[in-house]
Amino acid sequence: MKVYIYKVFERFWHWTQVTLIIILAITGFEIHGYYELFGYREAVMIHDRTAWAFLILIVFAIFWHFTTGEWKQYIPTLKLVKEQINYYITGIFSGAEHPTNKLVYNKFNPLQRIIYLGLKVLVIPVMVISGFAYMYFNYPNETYQLGSLDLVAAIHTFGAFFLIVFIIAHVYLTTTGHKPLSSIKAMITGWEEMDEKEAREMIVSEMEYSLQETKRNFLSEKDSSDFLDKALEETEEKIGVKKENKFRDVIANSGAGYFKIGADGLFVEVNRAWVNLYKYESCDEIIGEHYSLSRSERAITQLDETIAKVMKGETVEHGLVIRKCKDGSVGYHTITMTPWKQDEKIVGVEGFILDVDSSQAAKMEWENN
C-alpha cells in the first residue's frame, strides 16, 4: 500500500541538497589537496557558487519548514530512542517490526529526529558560517577579519568529513524500509510503500489529528463548516486519496466505521467496521433500515437534529455518542457527518465513526450524570 509522504518542495529540497553537497564535497576535497579533478581554480569557483546556491536553498527550506509547520517534525524526543536503537542493533536481523511507524505528522523515528535536527541546527550552520568566513573574512583590510584561517579550516574540514559519514550511514539506512528501495522511491515520487498495518495506523492517526483540529475549532465558536470542508480536503489529499472516489475505500480499510444515509432516513451503505461496531452479522441487516435503530430512544432526538443540520449543508462532529448495538448493549464513538451530494444536491448524509475507549467513555458518562 502506498501513502503520500513527501511533498514536491520537500523532494526538490532534498535532492538539490544532495546535488549541492556532493558538488561541495568533490570540489572541497580537491581544494583540500586530495586530488586534481576540475583544477584548483575551477574547484574554488564551483565551491564558491555552490555555497551560494546552498545558502539560497537553505533560506527557502527554512521558510517552507515554518510556513507548513513541518519544523515540528524535528522536535527531538527521547521516547522510543532505546527501542529504535535496539531495533537497528538486533531487531532488524530477526525481522522484528519497526518500533516506530512513519506517519504524516511523524515522518521520522526518534533517532532521525535527533540526527536531522543536529544537522540543521549544528552541522549545516557551522559549515555555512565557517565556509563564508573562509571565503570572505580572510582578507585583512575588511572590517571583520580572521586572525588566521587555521581554526575555520579545521572546523570546515571536520564538518566535511562528518557530512560524508552522515551520507554513508543515511544512504545505508534508507534500505531498512518496507522494501530496500521503498524509502528512496518515496523520496523520488513522494509515495512510500508501507505494509497495510502501518498505512492504516497512519490514516487513523491522520483522522484523529483532524478531529482534534476540528474540536479546537468548535471551541472557538466560529462558523466552522468552511474549515471542516477544507480540513477534510486536506486530509484526503495528505493521506493520498482522491475525494469521493477513494475516500470510502480508505475508510473501508481503516478501523473506522462508515455509513451513508439517504434523505428518507434509510441506510444506503455501511462498511464492515460499522457492522462490527454495531455487532451485526452482515450489512444486509442494516441496508434499507431507518437510522433510528442505531440509538436508544432516549438519544434519538440528538441524531435527528444532527441529520437535519447536515441535510442543510453543515458538517457536524460529535464528541461522543452512545450507540445501541444489535444485542442491546451500548458502545461509544465519535462521529463526523457530512452531506452526501450528487450533482451538487444534498441527497443524504455520510460519515464515519471512531470507536472510543470504554474507560474514557465511562468517565464522560459519569460526568454527564
Binding site: G33, G39, S94, P140, N141, Q145, D150, A154, T175
Partner: protein, 540 residues
C-alpha cells in the same frame, strides 16, 4: 505517466539545472589574455607622439671644442641653469641618503657611500674604480667636492649617440678620445642603455646583482620582460620610474629602507587589474610580482652565491686564475673567490611590508647568516595592526648568499681595501693579503680593526620587480596551493594556506570515521543479507 513526467521535471531537470548553474566554466581566465589590458597614467605605445622639442645640434655652445668633460657640463648648465641643484640632491650624485630604518629610532645615513653588501663589499678605499658608476667626474677619495657643479656627468644618462663610455679605474671620467660634440648634441631623455650601463652591470658583471636587470633587456622578447619587449610595448625605464626635476621614482631595498618614492604596478594597473574578483582579493596579501615574476635571470645567469673565503688562490707562476662553469659563467676568480651562477631561477618568498633594516658597518653581528638588509614583515602584519599602509604581502625575493670577511673580536663586518692601480698598496686585488687590505680599508673608513678576521655567511635580499612574465606564464593556483614540496610557498610557514596545509589529526580522524562507518554498514548489511538468504528473516 503524468506523475512520472512531473517527477522527472521536478527532480532530474531541476538537479541538472542546479548542477549546470554552479558548475559553469569560468571564462575569465581566457578573457584575461584576450582582452586589452586597462591601464591608467600611461599612454600606450600606439598612441604616443614622439616629437623633438629642441635640436641640440643647432646649439652653438655645443659646437665648441671641449677640452674636458666638465666643459660639456658647464655648457649644459649655461642653458639648463638650475638643474645642478636637482642633481646634487639626487642619490645618483650623493650616494647617500638619510633614512629611518625599520625598528630603529634614529635616522641614519645609508648609501653606497657607507653601506656594506655581500658582493664587492663596499666602496671605501676603492672609490676610483667604483665611481665609474657615479654621475660625476673625479671621485677618487674622500676629498671629492660634492658641491662642484662642474663635476656632474650629464652625459652618462643623457647621451643618445651610444658612444659615451666611462673609463675603468678613472674615478668616473670618460674614456679618452670620445667625440664630445657628437655626444653632447645627441642628448635626450635617458633610454634603457643609459640606465642599464650601471644598473645591469652592478656587482662587476651583467645581471650579477639584481637578477632581473640584464643587458639582454635592451632588446628582449615578451617572455623575458613583457613590458620592455621590443615586439610589445618596448617601454623605457623611465616609463615606470617616472621622473620630475631629476627626482627618479623607485629605490632598491639593497640600499633604501623607507617605504616612499616607490614605483608600483598599481600606478598603471590599479589595485583591481583582474576581471576575476578572487584574483583581485589576492592583492591584499600577495604582491603582484609574486605571481607575475615566476622566474628571473631568464636571458642571462645571475650570481646566487659569492664566497670570498676561497679567494687568493694563484697558479704555479703566481698568476690569477679564472675558472668558468659549463655555461661560461665564472665560478672562480682569484681576486673574488668562488661563485655560483644560475639562470631561470625560481624566487624565494618572504612576507614583506615595504620596510627594511640594514646592517651598518658599526653594527655587531647577532645571528648567522648575517642579514645585510632584513626585510620586515610577517603574516600577522595585516589589517588594522599593520606597520605600513600596504601591510605585509608575500614577495618574490632573490636571496644572494655570501661569505665575507669580518672582525672576529668586534663581531662586525669589515671593509677591506680592494682596488688599487699599483701593487704594494694594500689592495686585496693586487696583493692578495686580507690582513693588510682589511687594515687599510678600516683605517680609511675610520673604524677600528682588531687584526683578526674570518669569514661569515651573509644574506642579501633583492625584491624582484622586473622581468614580468606574460600573463599566460604567471603562476597558477597550484603553484602555491599545493601540498607538494614544489609548492612555491612550501617554506613560508606560520599561516594556513588552503591546498597546502592540512591538520593531520583531523584528516586521520575523518578518514577513520569514514572507514568505521563503511565497515559498520558492510557488517550490518551483510548480516541482513545473510539472514534473509537463510530464510531466518520471516517476511511477515
Amino acid at each position: 505517466m503524468k506523475r512520472k513526467l512531473f517527477v522527472v521535471l521536478v527532480l532530474v531537470v531541476s538537479q541538472f539545472a542546479v548542477a549546470m548553474l554552479v558548475m559553469q566554466l569560468n571564462p575569465t581566465l581566457e578573457q584575461d589574455q584576450s582582452e586589452e589590458i586597462d591601464v591608467v597614467n600611461y599612454i600606450m605605445k600606439a598612441d604616443q607622439i614622439d616629437r623633438m622639442v629642441a635640436d641640440h645640434s643647432k646649439f652653438e655652445i655645443l659646437q665648441q671644442e671641449f677640452e674636458t668633460p666638465q666643459a660639456v657640463t658647464l655648457a649644459c648648465l649655461s642653458c639648463h641653469t638650475e638643474r645642478h641643484h636637482e642633481i646634487m640632491a639626487n642619490n645618483h650624485w650623493t650616494w647617500d641618503r638619510n633614512e629611518k630604518l625599520a625598528l630603529r629610532d634614529s635616522v641614519v645615513s645609508v648609501g653606497k657611500k657607507n653601506i656594506l653588501n655581500n658582493f664587492c663589499i663596499g666602496i671605501n678605499g676603492s672609490e676610483k674604480t667604483c665611481s665609474r658608476c657615479h654621475i660625476g667626474y673625479g671621485w677618487e677619495d674622500k676629498s671629492f667636492d660634492f658641491t662642484d657643479k662642474g663635476n656632474i656627468d650629464c652625459l652618462v644618462c643623457h647621451d643618445q649617440s651610444g658612444t659615451y663610455k666611462k673609463a675603468k679605474g678613472k674615478a668616473g671620467y670618460p674614456e679618452e678620445g670620445l667625440d664630445l660634440n657628437l655626444i653632447s648634441q645627441s642628448v635626450g631623455s635617458p633610454k634603457r642603455e643609459n640606465c642599464g650601463i650601471c644598473h645591469y652591470w652592478g656587482g662587476g658583471g651583467n645581471n650579477v646583482k639584481h637578477g632581473d636587470l640584464d643587458e639582454a633587456m635592451n632588446s628582449c622578447s615578451r617572455e623575458v620582460d613583457v613590458h620592455m619587449a621590443i615586439d610589445g610595448e618596448d617601454m623605457s625605464c623611465i616609463a615606470c620610474h617616472t621622473t620630475e626635476n631629476h627626482v627618479i621614482t623607485g629605490k632598491v631595498y639593497a640600499l633604501s629602507s623607507e617605504d616612499k618614492n616607490r614605483v608600483t604596478c598599481v600606478q598603471c594597473h590599479t589595485e583591481t587589474p583582474h576581471t576575476d574578483k578572487l584574483l583581485n582579493q589576492h592583492f591584499e596579501r600577495i604582491a603582484c610580482q609574486t605571481c607575475h615574476i615566476p622566474e628571473y635571470a631568464k636571458a642571462n645567469a645571475t650570481k646566487m652565491v659569492w664566497d670570498w673565503s676561497t679567494a687568493g688562490r694563484l697558479d704555479a707562476e703566481g698568476n690569477t686564475i679564472h675558472e668558468s662553469d659549463a655555461d661560461g659563467n665564472h665560478n672562480y676568480l682569484s681576486i673574488k673567490g668562488t661563485f655560483v651562477y644560475d639562470d631561470h631561477v625560481k624566487p624565494e618568498y618572504f612576507w614583506f611590508n615595504g620596510l627594511a633594516d640594514h646592517l651598518l658597518i658599526t653594527d655587531s653581528i647577532e645571528s648567522i647568516p648575517v642579514q645585510i638588509n632584513t626585510l620586515e614583515g610577517s603574516y600577522n602584519d595585516k589589517g588594522k595592526d599593520c606597520a605600513t599602509e600596504s601591510c605585509s604581502k608575500i614577495w618574490p625575493i632573490k636571496v644572494h648568499r655570501g661569505k665575507q670577511p669580518y672582525d672576529v673580536v668586534s663581531k662586525k663586518l669589515v671593509q677591506p681595501k680592494l682596488w688599487s692601480p699599483n701593487k704594494g698598496d694594500s689592495a686585496y686585488w693586487t696583493d692578495f693579503d686580507w690582513d693588510n687590505s682589511i687594515e687599510a680599508g678600516m683605517k680609511y673608513t675610520g673604524l677600528p680593526y682588531s687584526g683578526e678576521y674570518d669569514f661569515v655567511e651573509t644574506e642579501m635580499y633583492w625584491p624582484l620587480n622586473h622581468q614580468v612574465a606574460p600573463a599566460e606564464n604567471s603562476l597558477t593556483c597550484t603553484s602555491c596551493h599545493s601540498s607538494s614540496p614544489d609548492s612555491r610557498l612550501a617554506n613560508l610557514n606560520g599561516f594556513y594556506l588552503p591546498g597546502r596545509d592540512r591538520f593531520a589529526m583531523i584528516d586521520y580522524l575523518g578518514i577513520i570515521l569514514i572507514l568505521l562507518t563503511l565497515g559498520g554498514v558492510a557488517i550490518h548489511g551483510g548480516i541482513r543479507v545473510i539472514l534473509r538468504k537463510n530464510c531466518l528473516h520471516d517476511k511477515k
